[in-house]
């Protein structure tokens, strides 16, 4: 019966494989880029067709709030990078503090976004509202894309914030350590992507003339 026993292979799919986890995260980030990529194409096409209307509508946005949010996200990218360094050096408490700071910054971003969105909605600029329906077509497209792209981005902020919270919790439980911190790294990769997409959204909607 020597052939009748299951075998434990050195290349088992159930082994711990940090490289595989990171590769999986990178591949996932590619799909995220393409998801937003589709929207960037639509933005580009409609901006070319409605250049004036897009410019006019962009003046409605609050550059100051956008700038503050950009700074908030950049700082949060820094804090999560620091938390990875902390866990690498075995300082779990410091890593958790920095992760929670990142979560706090993500909440701050959402609060600022909330005020921005509600003032637009207050003016009837959300798709489907009466005022929106009477806007010229180019401006309507601008605000649709604004809400869809920043909305999809905000959804990513929420998911990222929850993910980072989970990492902090698991670090506290001792499941993430200086020998096993791929989870923190992957959360960091995801968070940097969310940050990076904002770096493109900000000028496209708020800044360029």
């Amino acid at each position: 019966m020597e052939h009748a026993h299951g075998l434990h292979l050195p290349n088992s799919g159930h082994n711990r494989d940090d490289e595989a986890s990171k590769m999986g995260m990178w591949l996932f980030l590619f799909t995220e880029l393409l998801l937003f990529g589709g929207l960037f194409i639509v933005y580009m096409v409609y901006r070319m067709l409605n250049h004036e209307a897009f410019l006019l509508s962009s003046f409605e946005l609050n550059v100051w709030l956008g700038t503050i949010n950009t700074v908030v996200l950049l700082v949060s990218s820094m804090t999560i990078a620091m938390s990875i360094t902390a866990i690498q050096k075995g300082n779990s408490a410091q890593s958790i503090r920095l992760l929670m700071t990142t979560v706090g910054l993500s909440l701050l971003f959402l609060v600022i976004k909330y005020f921005e969105w509600s003032s637009k909605i207050h003016h009837g600029l959300f798709p489907g509202m009466d005022y929106y329906n009477n806007l010229p077509k180019g401006e309507a497209l601008f605000f649709f894309l604004y809400f869809m792209m920043t909305g999809l981005h905000a959804l990513h902020i929420i998911i990222g914030g929850i993910l980072i919270g989970v990492v902090a919790y698991r670090t506290k439980k001792g499941e993430v350590t200086s020998k096993k911190y791929t989870l923190t790294e992957n959360a960091g990769l995801y968070w940097h992507l969310v940050d990076l997409i904002w770096i493109y959204l900000f000028p496209l909607f708020y800044l360029i003339h």
Binding site: H3, G6, N11, G13, D17, E19, A20, A140
Partner: protein, 539 residues
């Protein structure tokens, strides 16, 4: 992995429905996919037979125009999103990729299970439109705007279903790429991988990099329907051509998601049934990557008549012709593999040969459509319908059933009746060609697609085609019942290697144990099809 299954195969290790639907074993997940896929395939076939019945005679035979539109839309959505796109990767890829690489599972087993669940949820969403809402979509599977924005049928749910199923496809692709990079058995370099793994590798990259585009595009259709935003409907400021671009940016590469895995299984079956190494291993491996790459840049050939600049059309047409090169490289290599082989004619080889024959008809008619001048005449005629059924069904469908006959003894450890399988194949093959070849002729005569009615001069090809659909159905029923009858046999021992194959799955037990191998797999000396140095396989 602490538990070691002793003398049990993967069917026997655990019992009960929950041990299946929550299993993280790639073999069980593959079979979950298989049973779901076959179910949806049979629904799709039934809808197809209904369409053919309606087209038996000019005028109304069975259903109203609108019902006919809903039937062909449902047929397309089911066959494309629920059957052909997942088919070979999700079933045979899931089952055999890890075994052929000499490992015990994919890199992310739980993600694999999640993919199946997402697929099932998406499928239920698509089928729910049959029962709820304002009836299933009547737009065609392409959901072209502005009609998809304006029609009263339940487009929103169908589109969301396609969106959800897309995630399943993305996650499977992601899993396979990482598995191929990380879990090959020691000594198996990329250039010692079986060609099926190569084709899955190319396919997975397309799944990963093309699917998100359709996801976001379909969401925009929903936004347009729900919020009335003028994205694609020109009457409210949108651009319908932009929709077509976005749709085909995914859906043309998706054609290669459907075709490349079929090339992979064909490249496995040919060496086994000619008992010699594949001709041009590297050429076949790299041509898969070439097809995947060039496939991204040719979506415009679906839109030659919808309004593009002459330059764009010229460029898209030329790039389309480029795809013929790597595809032809494969066909020549396959045929050369048979040359001077010791050919063993078994059902899987018959499907392989039919694949090559039919895929060539599909490919050549594709070039006719890729040429600008002829496409103007043939666009939206039955020639297109005949063409893509030759590629998708005559190609990928036949490869799927060939693969099923090939790996059947390995998956279930039993053997079907070979004679009945051969007879079923002949009926299936005749039925297929009777069904689709007349469509090419009707298309050349000018018969437009997507109508429930036609002019009397198209009667003859339509009649032959409908009779062919019945022959095909008989062949399919015979083939499937023969396979089911094989499963009901008791106390069979097909051994490890009934076909005398060389890739690693033939070194393990049939069916494999939970961990796939009972002893360390051995790779042949000079590449995966080195029959001269085939490792000895003892039972």
């Amino acid at each position: 992995m602490t538990a070691v299954s002793t003398h049990l195969n993967f069917f026997q290790t655990k019992k009960g429905i929950f041990s299946w639907i929550f299993s993280v074993d790639h073999k069980r997940i593959a079979l979950l996919y298989f049973y779901s896929l076959i179910t949806f395939f049979l629904v799709g076939v039934t809808l197809g037979l209904l369409m053919r019945y309606e087209l038996l005679n000019p005028g109304k035979d069975l259903v109203e125009a609108k019902t006919y539109n809903q039937i062909f839309t449902m047929h397309g959505v089911i066959m494309i999103f629920l059957f052909i796109i997942p088919s070979i990767p999700a079933v045979f890829g899931n089952f055999f990729l890890p075994i052929m690489l000499g490992t015990d599972d994919v890199s992310f087993p739980r993600l694999n299970l999640l993919s199946w669940w997402i697929y099932v949820i998406g499928a239920l969403m698509a089928l729910s439109t049959l029962l709820f809402g304002d009836g299933p979509a009547d737009t065609g599977w392409t959901f072209y705007a502005p009609y998809s924005v304006k029609t009263g049928t339940n487009v929103t749910m169908s589109v969301l279903a396609a969106f959800v199923i897309g995630f399943s496809s993305i996650l499977t692709g992601l899993n396979f790429i990482v598995t191929i990079h990380r879990l090959r058995t020691p000594g198996m370099t990329f250039l010692k991988m079986p060609l099926f793994a190569w084709s899955l590798y190319a396919t997975s990259w397309i799944q990963l990099l093309a699917t998100p585009i359709i996801g976001i595009t379909l969401l925009m259709i929903v936004a347009e329907r729900v919020l009335g935003v003028g994205l694609f409907d020109p009457s409210i400021g949108g651009d319908p051509i932009l929709y077509q671009h976005l749709f085909w940016i995914y859906s043309h590469p998706a054609v290669y998601i459907m075709a490349l895995p079929a090339f992979g299984v064909i490249s496995e079956m040919l060496p086994t049934f000619s008992q010699r190494t594949i001709f041009g291993y590297k050429a076949i491996a790299f041509s898969s990557l070439a097809i995947a790459f060039v496939g991204y840049f040719i979506w415009g050939h679906h839109m030659f008549t919808s309004g593009m600049s002459g330059t764009a059309r010229f460029v898209f047409s030329m790039l389309t012709f480029l795809v013929a090169i790597p595809t032809a490289i494969k066909v020549f290599n396959w045929v050369a593999t048979l040359y001077k082989g010791s050919i063993n004619v078994q059902p899987p080889l018959l499907y392989t040969l039919a694949f090559i024959f039919q895929f060539m008809i599909g490919g050549f008619t594709g070039l006719v459509l890729g040429a600008l001048a002829t496409d103007i005449h043939l666009h939206d005629t039955y020639f297109v319908v005949g063409h893509f059924h030759y590629v998708m069904f005559g190609g990928t469908g036949f490869a799927f059933f060939g693969a099923l006959h090939y790996w059947y003894p390995k998956i279930w450890g039993k053997m079907y009746n070979i004679k009945v399988a051969n007879v079923a194949f002949v009926i299936f093959f005749i039925g297929f060609n009777m069904l689709y070849f007349p469509m090419l002729i009707a298309g050349l005569m000018g018969m437009p697609r997507r109508y429930y009615d036609y002019l009397p001069e198209f009667h003859l090809p339509n009649m032959i085609s409908t009779y062919g659909s019945w022959v095909l159905a008989v062949g399919l029923i015979l083939m499937l019942s023969n396979l089911v009858a094989g499963l009901l046999k008791k106390n069979q021992n097909v051994g490890r290697n009934p076909w005398n194959g060389i890739t690693l799955e033939w070194q393990t037990l049939s069916p494999p144990p939970l961990e796939n191998f009972d002893r360390m797999p051995e790779i042949p000396l000079n590449g995966p099809y080195d029959f001269e140095h085939k490792p000895e396989i003892k039972d």
